[in-house]
Subunit: 126 residues, 2 copies
């Protein structure tokens, strides 16, 4: 038989879509429990896995941190993480300039970019 629509799946997607930044599995669990109190962490992981395969969500893998999840379908983007407040700002307009970085004969298929620094709220800039 085919895939079922369960309260748990709906809750996970609702959490992901209702939050402005990517979330870790544990955070998703906490928020999903406000909707379906009995949902377990194992279920969250299983649902995330399924959603990833369907590309309904995407993973954000900051170096050295646990994976974060966000709704899929967004256009190509990267993140700027503020070291002061921890907030992750989406950055778009990523250049194809990267192509110039690889030697002749190399085929660049994909890339991952993370920016770190201080956001305008934290620097006091306006």
């Amino acid at each position: 038989m085919s895939e079922r629509n369960t309260r748990q799946k709906a809750a996970v997607m609702e959490v992901l879509e209702g939050f402005p930044t990517p979330l870790a599995a544990a955070q998703i669990l906490a928020r999903a429990r406000q909707i379906v109190p009995t949902i377990s962490l194992a279920t969250v992981y299983r649902i995330l896995k399924g959603l990833l395969e369907k590309e309904a969500i995407a993973v954000v893998q900051l170096p050295g941190e646990v994976p974060l999840y966000e709704p899929g379908g967004k256009s190509h983007h990267h993140y700027f993480r503020c070291r002061q407040c921890g907030f992750m700002y989406e950055v778009s307009g990523c250049m194809k300039l990267l192509k110039g970085l690889v030697p002749r004969g190399f085929k660049l298929e994909d890339h991952e970019l993370f920016l770190f620094g201080t956001c305008s709220s934290c620097t006091g800039s306006r």
Copy 2:
């Protein structure tokens, strides 16, 4: 008292410096054991931690993979990982062009970039 010079530390550094690409903790252990057969994984981790603090080595954190370690003191660089053969090619000449990506008022302090694709050996290019 101050830091000691042990065979284990020497072995870990020797492994790291003698290898062309970054290595994972488990790989470092395997190779270090050829020098000091009794060295343990816990010791490798403790030594790596100490070397990191002194910045004698650096970590390479590919998204979704275990941390890799390389000798420190290299100039700013990134990696191109070939999806066919898995080899990691060092890429330098990273642009400050990134600065144009962040909004006004944001202070860009650091960045992490990973390139993925196929290397020239694997494409058959010459």
